[in-house]
Amino acid sequence: MTPDEDVALLVKRAAAGDQGAWDVLVDRYTNLLWSVARGYRLERSDAADVVQVAWLRLVEHLPSLREPERVGSWLATTVRRECLQLLATRKRRGTTVDDQILEGVPAQVAPVDSQLLTRERHAELWQAFTGLTERCQKLLRVLMVDPPPSYQDVSASLAMPIGSIGPTRARCLDRLRALLEESVSGAGASS
């Protein structure tokens, strides 16, 4: 069975009322949806609500999904649209987007546990990652998801043509390496 057939079968079984099949879909796609929402720099609670709404909508749409093998793309697109609407709502209501972005930077919302920082390399890498452009952070977050999403799902998650994913990925990783080197050489110069 191909991965597409596997996913289509899970959707079909869930549409027939199989909670176990639904749970497998949840396990397969929740990390992807979380990464998409966090890529928009939503607060953690907002990101969680956006992901939840996507799952609620899928329950309604299960019987009528036209391409069940693309349920991951359907979910990711739903999350992306809800993120954009939530950001627009926040802006409209006077919570500036800049505030949201600041709240969304993980190193600032969650004080980093000093024990975790003993893994110094992780801290350096995270700092370099948050120095990337928003586009690069969004792409790398989605590419890092476990289990790895298909390129179709990555494309839907980011509204990015499939042909752009590989070249953009290479550029973003090059930039990440450059930021890491700057960080290491900067630390060396200051010591």
Binding site: A14, Q19, W22, D23, V26, D27, T30, N31, W34, R38, R44, A48, D49, V50, V51, Q52, V53, W55, L56, R57, L58, V59, E60, P63, S64, E82, Q85, L86, A88, T89, R90, K91, R92, R93, P106, A107, A110, V112, L116, R119, R121, H122, L125, W126, F129, L140, R141, L143, M144, D146, R169, A170, L173, L176, R177
Partner: protein, 146 residues
């Protein structure tokens, strides 16, 4: 370090710094068990959050209008502190309105003018259902109230 190794290291870093909340999967699993109000869709035809700034709505008030071919419901949602109140009016042959949140579904009786009100709903998600004659039902998509 090649691209794959760098991505793998980054993956381990993200797991440490920004993991999904532990409750996220449980909530997604529970979504499957919620009452399915109807397969007939009530379309969202107007949403104050989709209007240009300053034209409609204010503060934490959201105005939503839903419709089927023969029924229309206008709903005002007022959010405060993790809860919300819903006030609205229905035109057409509707016997009751259903306000559903992930915590449960509530039937709300209409007055003679088709108006309804329900206070103290919990959370930030809402689905509006309509009960019509002959057992017909219809329901909106889920809305994230923002």
């Amino acid at each position: 370090m090649n691209d794959e190794e760098l991505l793998e290291e980054l993956r381990r870093t993200v797991v440490v710094h920004d993991p999904p909340p532990p409750t996220l999967r449980a909530a997604a699993r529970d979504a499957f068990g919620l009452e399915r109000l109807s397969e007939e869709l009530v379309r969202l035809i107007e949403d104050s959050d989709l209007q240009p700034a300053g034209t409609r709505g204010a503060g934490d008030v959201r105005l939503l209008s839903f419709a089927t071919e023969d029924v229309e419901a206008s709903v005002q949602v007022t959010s405060a502190g993790g809860a919300f109140d819903v006030t609205g009016v229905v035109t057409g042959a509707v016997s009751a309105i259903v306000l559903q949140t992930p915590a449960g579904a509530h039937d709300v009786i209409l007055d003679e003018q088709g108006r309804f009100h329900r206070a103290g709903l919990v959370g930030r998600m809402l689905r509006v259902g309509l009960r019509m004659p002959a057992g017909r039902t219809a329901a909106s998509a889920w809305v994230l109230l923002g």
